[in-house]
């Protein structure tokens, strides 16, 4: 066993670290303290365009379409450094979700039309999967697309559509044929959000913010040319995408950074004159998390090492999403606990100084929005179903 990177890889790590230190300014994208919410979109696009200019926007893509050509190790280092620097991941819907489907299953015309604008962040994408009646049971979806000459006519509702309010395009799973096995009869469509008949309705989430939406389709015309692959085969393409989505969901580097900040905060917050970090019970709660994270870091490394050696990730890869999200939530719980009374105070007429804690507002929001982590991307219960079947053979 050997945990060390090669000298070459260390050199690469230093280059990445240097670039992040020089180019990333936290205020660019930090949602904290940013007044109008639309700043978030501009800030993310500004940062993504910097990565694009550097050629680092899409490490996961094949080189011919604009990927970096990095080794598995370099990709891993890049992700780790990003998390450690506290830099948010790119908005995933275009770069990490629909692009792999387009370059794997799309036509030449689709690749030429969509991929360059995803790379340059000129198009903002969102994901039209979930419906009011189709959550974890995605195949229950009922939005229909009726074939009519050169177009499909789409009718239905998509829900929990993250950041749809900014989107130029949406990729959707729609039902094109009824009365056959549920997974069959689904097609994968790319839909221009400016098409008449589409309405985006905001959903305010329990963190008091608007990132979720409902997207309504009323007789929306979608050119057949915007269908990925064959009609009724969309489920296959979506499944390939999910496999793509599932790698790298442990976010260990991000959690390590969050934990480091939590410890510093715990050293500053006092109770009865004693720093919270000295409190034995608080220490116990902290180390329960820290030790699990130390283990998860090595679980992630084990997965990475077998992939770097050209193999498939072992069964341990299946637990990354479950443990990663549980640990993220556990850290958020302690953040909120540290914020004490101020965690509940809503920012309105008060500014951060008046609130006493500039982190309390963030702690509350992280905690509340963080509940979503064990729901999205296949709820953790569904993940357990998957492991029971695929790994344990139950």
């Amino acid at each position: 066993m050997d945990i060390n990177f090669s000298a070459q890889d260390l050199e690469f790590r230093d280059e990445v670290r240097q670039f992040f230190a020089n180019e990333y300014k936290p205020t660019q994208v930090s949602p904290e303290g940013v007044k109008p919410e639309d700043d978030y979109k501009d800030a993310m696009i500004r940062w993504q365009k910097k990565l694009y200019a550097k050629g680092w926007i899409a490490p996961g893509w094949p080189k011919e379409y604009g990927g970096t050509g990095w080794t598995v190790t370099q990709k891993f280092i890049y992700e780790t450094e990003r998390g450690a620097a506290g830099i948010p991941d790119v908005v995933p819907f275009g770069l990490k979700m629909v692009a792999p489907v387009i370059y794997t299953f799309g036509t030449q015309e689709q690749k030429a039309k969509f991929l360059p604008r995803i790379l340059s962040s000129d198009d903002w994408w969102c994901q039209g999967y979930s419906e009011p009646g189709a959550g974890s049971d995605l195949a229950a979806l009922s939005t229909t697309a009726e074939y009519a000459g050169d177009n499909y006519i789409v009718n239905g509702r998509k829900i929990w559509t993250t950041l749809a309010q900014y989107a130029d395009w949406i990729f959707c799973l729609v039902r094109t044929t009824k009365d056959i096995r549920r997974q069959q009869g689904i097609s994968f469509l790319l839909i221009d959000m400016k098409t008449p008949g589409i309405t985006v309705k905001p959903i305010v989430s329990i963190d008091g913010k608007h990132s979720l939406n409902e997207v309504l389709f009323e007789d929306v015309l979608v050119p057949v040319a915007n269908r990925i692959g064959e009609q009724d085969k969309g489920w296959t393409y979506a499944k390939a995408l999910l496999a793509h989505e599932r790698t790298g969901m442990a976010e260990v580097a991000d959690s390590k950074r969050a934990l480091r900040e939590l410890k510093l905060r715990a050293a500053a917050e006092v109770n009865g004159g004693q720093a919270m970090i000295k409190d034995p019970i608080f220490q116990l709660r902290l180390s329960d998390i820290e030790m699990e994270l130390m283990a998860l870091e090595y679980t992630e490394l084990r997965v990475f090492a077998s992939m770097a050696a050209g193999g498939q990730p072992g069964p341990e890869s299946s637990l990354l999403k479950i443990k990663g999200t549980e640990i993220t939530q556990a850290i958020q719980e302690l953040q909120l606990q540290l914020a004490s009374y101020y965690g509940g105070a809503l920012q309105g007429d008060l500014d951060n100084t008046e609130l006493g804690h500039n982190f309390a507002n963030e702690a509350r929001r992280n905690y509340m929005y963080g509940r979503a982590a064990t729901i999205y991307g296949g709820s953790n219960e569904v993940q357990r179903n998957v492991i029971a079947k695929a790994v344990l053979g139950l």
């Binding site: 050997d2 030790m291 998860l296 479950i322 443990k323 357990r384």
Partner: protein
């Protein structure tokens, strides 16, 4: 970066696994436990022949020159068979202390006899009041004609009844809780004034209460300088804790596979109980607990490898990893053990089934050289006290 065992390690791991599978079935083990000595001398000779007893010792003493990683590879497989022969107490602990000794003539005299299987040893450190604090020592060693005179009582000395030699912690200066002033002596179990009272422990193994009544030990039987005993023990402990944790990992993985298999065959309500989601999720959590424990073990082993390659390196990261590992084994080991019994239902309650015996060894490991709370507290101190 890689997490594979080397070719050599895989060979020895496979050889231990083969032994457990072909020679060490549950009935054989039961007969050994019920035998007078509580171990099989024949199997011990086999271990010596196969070279397993030589693994941690330096080549100059006839050893294999192995690392913590080598030991972990062996221990994981021994754990799968809950092997009761005194590999931990004689090779890992007693052998580890000898290896770290600075007394060259002593090492040259004893280590070869451990390797060839003729000497069984144990570490006599625990006293009735000392719980997990190695420094809490009331046994005394007083300078006298011919060396030192040792007086005191040691309890739960693992495999003490069959030990030929003990390494004993005895106070040469200072008061009861001082870390300084503790010396390590090699004491023959047949020496005048040594009384050994052996008994069974819940895990099918044996331990003993050993009393020392003015036992005279020559000064050349000191493992290290007078009063420097605890430093030596501290240096050995990471390897010991990782070996025990590897054994626990082997046990946990056995409990998991036995439980999954059983759930597929046990029928209730007209269907295998493996089809029930409530049970599936519990077995998934057992699987996760086992994988996370393995990752923590690998973390410790990698830290140890780093230090072996660079002995001047600060060892705080290794200590944090090892404390976290032992705390993780305690937490997840208990979880896996309790769930295995629960999912087996009534049959899991029986002495006849192997499940309970795996669980009892896990429980013993959990209190050996510090329980989970003890190690978590140590971890907390290393991690948070300077913030």
């Amino acid at each position: 970066m890689n997490f594979d065992f080397s070719e050599e390690q895989t060979m020895i791991k496979d050889s231990v696994a083969r032994f457990v599978r072909d020679e060490y079935d549950f009935d054989t083990r039961r007969k050994i436990i019920d035998s007078e000595e509580g171990m099989s001398r024949d199997f011990w000779a086999t271990f010596a022949e196969l070279g397993w007893l030589s693994v941690p010792f330096a080549e100059e003493y006839g050893g294999f020159g192995g690392t913590a990683e080598d030991l972990a590879a062996i221990m994981e497989e021994l754990g799968k068979g809950i092997v009761v022969e005194p590999f931990v107490s004689t090779v890992v602990v007693f052998g580890g202390l000898l290896s770290a000794s600075t007394n060259e003539p002593l090492k040259e005299a004893i280590i070869p006899s451990v390797i060839d299987g003729s000497c069984l040893g144990s570490f006599a450190f625990l006293e009735r009041q000392s719980r997990y604090e190695m420094a809490d020592v009331t046994t005394t060693a007083t300078a006298c004609d011919g060396g030192y005179s040792i007086t005191g009582e040691k309890t739960v000395v693992f495999n003490g009844g069959i030990a030929d030699k003990f390494v004993v912690t005895a106070r040469t200066s200072g008061s009861q809780f001082d870390r300084q002033g503790i010396s390590l002596f090699l004491v023959d179990s047949k020496a005048a004034g040594v009384t050994v009272k052996s008994y069974k422990t819940m895990d099918g193994q044996r331990a003993a209460t050993v009393t020392f009544d003015n036992v005279i030990v020559a000064a050349d039987q000191l493992l290290k300088g007078v009063g420097e005993g605890l430093d030596l023990v501290d240096g050995v402990m990471p390897t010991v804790l990782m070996a025990l944790s590897a054994e626990a990992l082997g046990i946990m993985s056995m409990l998991n596979s036995l439980t999954v298999e059983y759930s597929k065959t046990r029928q209730q309500f007209g269907t295998p109980i493996s089809s029930f989601q409530a049970l599936q999720h519990r077995m998934v959590d057992m699987f996760i607990a086992c994988e996370q424990t393995k990752s923590m073990l690998y973390r410790g082993l990698c830290d140890a490898n780093d230090i072996a390659a660079n002995p001047e390196m600060d060892n705080t990261e290794l200590l944090k990893s090892v404390h976290a590992l032992k705390a993780t084994v305690a937490k997840f080991g208990r979880k896996v053990g309790e769930e295995a019994i629960q999912l087996h239902g009534g049959i899991g309650m029986t002495d006849e089934l192997n499940i309970g015996h795996y669980v009892k060894r896990l429980m013993t490991i959990n209190v050996t050289f510090g329980d989970g709370d003890y190690h978590q507290k140590k971890f907390n101190h290393l991690s948070y006290s300077s913030l």
